[in-house]
């Protein structure tokens, strides 16, 4: 038998390159030559063991590398104190139709990478903590993979921040806006989201958080697992959410909560829990429709709907007459352009008492009550 062939098979087995046929062949050979067992076992141990290496000072090396780049005149932009803002359009596909193209043009990404360095107030030790911020502009969304494998889909007009301590003891992020989280399970390192006036602690789960500044409510919708919502203003208050439940916190209303011993009085937000409603055959839920570009609205006020449409389309609405805010709409938009969507809304509104006309100037949309507005502008 070809002696080298055995070593070839053993090497392949160790490297994970052996086919099932080769593994069988090796087994047969080993049965005939038991002496080889010892070698194979020892080699197996050796293979699994990482050769001891002195840890490379990669941080220092990186600093040296940056200095070298600087000395060669390669500009990295400022890393220390400024925000570097990069704006770029999503590349349109060649086979795109005009509708999608219009949407894409509206869908510019804005990502702000913020490197803030906090100095702790210790005169002898200056501790620098870089913070990473991902920001999406209206009309665009992005997804990101956190260092532990947790995936976050960030909806339009939102920002997610985390710092270099992420994953050390805790996995902490701060959210403004809307995001869908698929958190990798790790009971030793709880995942905590700070948003608005609440903290959400999870161990490993899938859920959607909607918490835009300037909106009346914060919503947490749980798809799988369980999450714990706490209120920093009130340490005793804790809500555990179960799958298919949605927590709605009204930021505008608070109820006074007098603790039992009447020492402290704290304000807690007004809270309600609803069940998630699933639609159609794919049992889609309204709350995560944005991930498929779908905007669901269920008895939603015109005012709130326009805010959602601003995010979806990357436009700004200006409503001249607040009486329009009282109209409520139910339905969904997906591939419609902003014009098609507005026309659909106008037709619906016509049937009710109210009626409106609109005018698009660039990415600004002006909406008038048709009776009052007709004097000031001409409909298109």
């Amino acid at each position: 038998m070809d002696n080298d062939h055995i070593w070839n098979l053993i090497a392949k087995k160790l490297a994970g390159e052996a086919s099932s046929g080769e593994l069988k062949e090796l087994e047969t050979i080993l049965r005939r030559d038991p002496d080889l067992h010892y070698s194979l076992e020892a080699l197996h141990d050796m293979w699994k063991k990482k050769s001891e290496q002195k840890p490379e000072q990669s941080e220092i090396a990186f600093q040296k590398h940056m200095d070298r780049m600087y000395s060669k005149g390669i500009d990295m932009g400022s890393m220390e104190n400024s925000l570097s803002i990069d704006e770029f359009p999503e590349t349109p596909h060649r086979f795109m139709n005009w509708k999608t193209l219009a949407f894409t043009i509206a869908g510019f990404f804005l990502i702000t990478l913020g490197y803030y360095f906090y100095s702790y107030h210790n005169p002898s030790v200056v501790f620098q903590k870089p913070v990473w911020e991902v920001v999406t502009r209206n009309g665009s969304k992005t997804n990101l993979l956190l260092p532990d494998g947790t995936t976050v889909w960030l909806n339009a007009g939102s920002s997610l921040t985390y710092d270099s301590l992420y994953g050390n003891k805790l996995r902490e992020v701060t959210l403004s806006g809307e995001a869908y989280f698929d958190v990798v399970k790790n009971p030793n390192k709880p995942f905590i989201i700070h948003t608005g006036k609440i903290n959400i602690k999870v161990l490993g789960t899938v859920f959607n958080i909607k918490s835009y500044p300037g909106e009346k409510t914060i919503e947490a919708s749980l798809i799988r697992g369980s999450i714990e919502v706490t209120f920093p203003s009130l340490s005793a208050k804790k809500i555990i959410l179960k799958p298919n439940q949605k927590l709605i916190i009204d930021k505008t209303e608070t109820i006074s909560n007098v603790s039992i011993n009447k020492v402290a009085t704290a304000q807690i937000p007004f809270i309600s829990i609803q069940h998630l409603i699933r639609y159609g055959s794919d049992s889609a839920i309204e709350e995560t429709g944005w991930m498929q570009n779908r905007l669901y609205f269920n008895d939603m006020s015109f005012e709130e709907l326009l805010k959602n449409m601003e995010r979806k389309y990357g436009v700004s609405f200006h409503v001249a007459d607040s009486s329009l805010d009282t109209i409520h709409f139910t339905g969904s938009f997906k591939d419609e352009t902003v014009t098609q969507a507005l026309d659909a809304l106008r037709l619906t509104a016509e049937k009710s008492i109210a009626d409106f006309i609109y005018e698009i100037k660039g990415n600004q949309v002006f909406i008038y009550n048709s009776i009052k507005g007709v004097q000031s502008i001409q409909p298109k």
Binding site: Y38, L43, K50, E56, A61, W132
Partner: protein, 197 residues
Amino acid sequence: MPSIAASRIKYLQTRISRFNDQLAYKELFTGFYSSLIQFVTGIIKSRQSAEEIVSDLFMKIWEKRETLEEIQNLRVYCFVSARHLSINQLEKQKRQHHADIEDYKTKLIHPAPDPEECMISAEMMRRIHNVVEELPPRCKLSFKLVKEYGFKYREAAEILQVSEKTIENQLAIALKKISNSIHFDIGRSIPVIAGYH
């Protein structure tokens, strides 16, 4: 073994390419640094030159960041480039010193024994390490690429610009020699320390 998961590398490529993301660039640099510096040092035997080569390589990555996303396997790409840069450097040295690359012997680096391991195991590892260091250059590089850095045969072949068959053969030779050195120890109850550095 790869220190960054393949999916993370892809993600970092995107971040650097689309957003000029310096933190992603740093993560890539620090993640690849150890294995690249060792790989390059294994070829050119000069720590200082190795540092410059790895730095040059990453400079190139930053400068061509716009097309970085197109690279299918960035780890393989880095090792291929690192090898090219090392060979260029060696040729420069050769012209200067008329030295023969093949005559270079690796400076033996003695790893400190892990206190958690028994003496025999540590001694055996040291012996294996020495056997590996004494292997012919191509054999040693093939072995290290597959074992230490976790590359597939196909990838190692791409990095060293040889056929997969060559990698197979080199690995077989390496394992045979290592196995012989282990056999030497059979039946001995006291670890052999003298004679091995």
